[in-house]
């Protein structure tokens, strides 16, 4: 069972994100290339964590479908860095799931020509503690 007692403070500490800096401009979600595949969007992560509404995020699809491309982090005018917060939520889940599901040795086998470098980095973010 997933421990859903992850607090706002835990997430802010893990990510280094201060949700109060957000001015609710929506630039992150305007920038996000994978918006349609995410059930919660970067600006919602900031808003929901700020309000302590964290449980739905822990169960969300978005933590896995976020490409960790960092576009939202780079474009946010207030340097809130939503991608880091999404990562923190994901880590809160990944760490509870115990084992690593991806080892560096597995990579050559999985590699195909079209795979962007970033996808490999992103995979590590999702399948390793």
């Amino acid at each position: 069972m997933l421990n859903t007692k992850i607090s706002k403070e835990d997430l802010e500490r893990i990510s280094g994100v201060n949700t109060r800096k957000c001015m609710k401009c929506g630039k992150c979600s305007a920038t996000c290339p994978n918006f349609d595949a995410m059930d919660y969007h970067p600006h919602q992560f900031i808003d929901m964590v700020d309000k302590g509404n964290i449980a739905p995020l822990l169960e969300s699809k978005a933590i896995w479908t976020c490409l960790s491309c960092m576009a939202c982090l780079q474009r946010c005018p207030r340097s809130v860095e939503p991608a880091k917060l999404i990562e923190a939520v994901r880590l809160a889940v990944v760490r509870q799931q115990g084992e690593n599901r991806l080892a560096a040795e597995d990579i050559p086998e999985l590699l195909d020509e079209d795979l962007p470098q970033q996808a490999i980095v992103s995979a590590f973010r999702k399948y390793k503690k």
């Binding site: 401009c25 929506g26 979600s29 600006h43 576009a71 474009r75 005018p77």
Partner: protein, 661 residues
């Protein structure tokens, strides 16, 4: 021995809530020399000042210590009070127990102890105070205005109206500033040129106003009432006294590939040009970087066609030195070029423009004759997207931290004008907040939405890309929690505004302070908003912070009122707390003159009696009218000969001793 009175102010609860004021008065009563001590709710009020005056008379006081707010607040007030009761104003000391004590402490016991210590230090100083008399310096009855935008023009006209001479130094070939480039102006939609050009003509024809266009301030010396300013006249290569402004040269010049700055580079101008038809002065200027003759020695066509014989390729820069009593800074703003925001595609797509560029595209006197056409293909746009807050209100390295203040309103204006001229065009505005605090401002914005059907969407644009000549806009619609994709023919960026780049070096020349954004700082945010903390330097318009025209003009006139108040005086009282050198200690080493920022120190050979020996020595002499009492020389002097009146080393040491006691 001095007879000192101590007056402890409550400042309502500002001080009294954290400092036991009665205890401070009671304790300080037993300090040596103190013959009277009391506390009162508002020492600066009429009745508070009465208490001070009465005590001076009743107890024959020779010195006064007031424990209150910062001397920046009320030193002048209390100096007048004690003077009215017959003691020298420099026999007063203020112990700051508000900003430096009650406001920054929570513990009442500690704060009270600190207030007592600060009071004790002030008492120790008063024991060593001596009466000082201010010298007078004459006021030059002429003002200098730097920058000839609407702010500078308005300030100059108001000063001239009061009968004083005023010079405007403008770095461009014409006055007018950014307002000259605007189309219609919010909130009333009157045309900028119709209201600005008469003022420009007034400035040009008023015999009290002198225009120094195509000029820059090169050097500033002196002090309030007596500035000496060197103005650099850049060469126009046209004799301004002969040029009639007929424009014949500008049409004949074969060098035509030069971007026309006035039209934001949408068309070209000749190497010899007059910025726009209503320019003041209406005189041609040759840009030497564009002129074929200046680069190759061939051409000279303009000289041939000019019937007035005004062209002069040999013109050199000139320097003019004049004296002024007051200096007004009105250097304005510029809109940033959003080149760092690659997501909006400003660098790549011609149809992505800034709002100032858009003003030119809408302007009847602009490159398209007021017909709105896409810069890429000259066709009429059908869909326009406006993006607000580009480069404003951010914390990243690309952004300004402040709100540019004018863009919400001019975006509503642009959207409304487009809908008015071309009702079929679809107009969308992306906003974070719509900020419209101003008379008739919110009504103006609501009209754009309700009457003209402009779509306002809360959210930012994340990406603009071009595909087959159409701009693809990806943006947030926060209220719908959606990411939207729409096509546009033009994207207009409400880019942030920033102070002119020349403002920082100018501030250094004027010793006027600026904030981290390079806006000039006012002497007091609320009570002295049009003065710089440097005496004699005044602020007008957007150089002090983002402003629209109504606010700029109000500030410009307020600034003129302050300048007139200064110029109306024949003399100014100088600060008597100036440096002086002790001739028996000074060894004429010149160290002090090197650090004096005001050039107040010279040296002279003087006959000196020292320990029974009479000899001629080189001694530092301070010009008391020039010295501003900054004290740089006193700490530099290796022989301890320099000292400040009113802030002598032994006075400061007495304060330190009293604190450490």
């Amino acid at each position: 021995m001095q007879r000192i009175g101590v007056f402890v102010c409550w400042c309502g609860t500002n001080i009294a809530a954290t400092v036991d004021v009665a205890k401070v008065a009671e304790t300080l009563k037993s300090e040596p020399g103190v013959v009277f001590a009391t506390d009162y709710q508002y020492m600066c009020s009429a009745s508070g000042q009465e208490i001070i005056k009465n005590a001076i008379k009743e107890h024959n006081l020779t010195g006064v210590v007031i424990c209150s707010c910062s001397p920046r607040m009320h030193e002048a007030t209390f100096r007048k009070t004690v003077q009215a009761a017959g003691i020298n104003p420099y026999m007063l000391e203020i112990a700051n127990i508000r900003e430096q004590c009650s406001w920054i402490h929570k513990d009442k016991e500690e704060a009270t102890e600190k207030a007592i210590i600060l009071g004790r230090a002030a008492i120790a100083k008063v024991h060593l105070n001596a009466p000082l008399t201010s010298m007078e310096s004459p006021v030059v009855k002429r003002a200098l205005v730097i920058g000839g935008g609407i702010a500078g023009i308005q300030t100059a006209l108001d000063i001239a109206d009061a009968g004083f001479e005023v010079d405007i130094v403008e770095k461009q070939p014409t006055i007018g500033g950014k307002m000259a480039q605007l189309d219609k102006t919010f909130p009333t939609l009157d045309c900028a040129a119709c209201i600005l050009t008469p003022k420009m003509v007034d400035a040009g024809s008023n015999d009290k106003v002198n225009l120094y266009t195509y000029c820059e301030v090169d050097k500033v010396e002196g002090f309030v009432g007596n500035f000496k300013v060197t103005i650099k006249q850049k060469p126009r290569y046209v004799d301004a006294t002969k040029c009639t402004g007929c424009g014949e040269c500008t049409t004949k010049c074969p060098s035509r590939k030069n971007p026309n700055e006035f039209n934001m580079g949408f068309d070209n101008r000749g190497a010899v040009y007059i910025p726009f038809a209503q320019a003041v002065p209406k005189v041609a200027t040759i840009d030497p970087d564009d002129c074929i003759y200046m680069k190759t020695g061939k051409c000279g066509l303009c000289a041939k066609v000019c019937t007035a014989g005004a062209i002069n390729y040999e013109q050199k820069e000139e320097f003019i030195t004049k004296e002024y009593g007051a200096i007004v800074v009105a250097t304005g703003y510029n809109q940033i070029k959003p080149t760092e925001f690659e997501e909006y595609g400003y660098n790549n797509y011609k149809d992505v423009v800034t709002s100032l560029e858009f003003e030119r595209l809408m302007n009847a006197a602009g490159p398209t004759g007021g017909h709105l056409l896409r810069p890429s293909n000259g066709k009429e746009p059908k869909k326009i997207v406006f993006v607000q807050c580009v480069g404003s209100r951010g914390q990243s390295c690309r952004d300004k931290s402040y709100c540019s203040k004018i863009c919400c309103m001019y975006t509503a204006k642009h959207a409304m004008l487009v809908k008015d001229h071309y009702p079929d065009v679809d107009v969308t505005v992306f906003y974070i907040d719509v900020r419209t605090p101003g008379k008739n401002f919110d009504e103006f914005y609501r009209r754009a939405v309700e009457e003209f059907g402009v779509h306002y969407i809360k959210g930012m644009v994340g990406k603009v890309e071009e595909e087959d000549g159409v701009l693809k806009v990806q943006a947030s619609d926060l209220l719908a929690n959606a990411q939207i994709h729409m096509d546009a023919d033009m994207v207009v960026l409400a880019a942030a505004i920033e102070p002119d780049k020349s403002a920082r070096p100018l501030a250094t020349m004027l010793t006027a302070s600026m904030d981290t954004n390079d806006f000039f700082t006012e002497a007091h945010a609320k009570l002295r908003p049009v003065e710089s903390p440097t005496a004699g330097i005044f602020l007008s318009g957007t150089c002090q912070g983002p402003k629209d025209i109504p606010e700029t003009v109000s500030q410009a006139s307020a600034c003129a009122a302050k300048v007139i108040g200064l110029l109306a005086k024949d003399h100014l009282l100088c600060n008597p707390c100036v440096a002086h050198s002790n001739e028996t200690l000074c060894n004429g080493c010149s160290t002090c003159a090197n650090v004096c920022p005001y050039g107040a120190i010279t040296y002279e050979d003087r006959l000196v009696m020292d320990k029974g020996v009479r000899e001629t020595r080189r001694i530092a002499v301070v010009n008391e009218a020039v010295c501003q009492g900054c004290g740089a020389c006193t700490v530099t002097c290796p022989s301890g000969a320099m000292d400040l009146k009113g802030f002598a080393n032994r006075q400061i040491m007495a304060e330190v001793d009293a604190i450490c006691r």
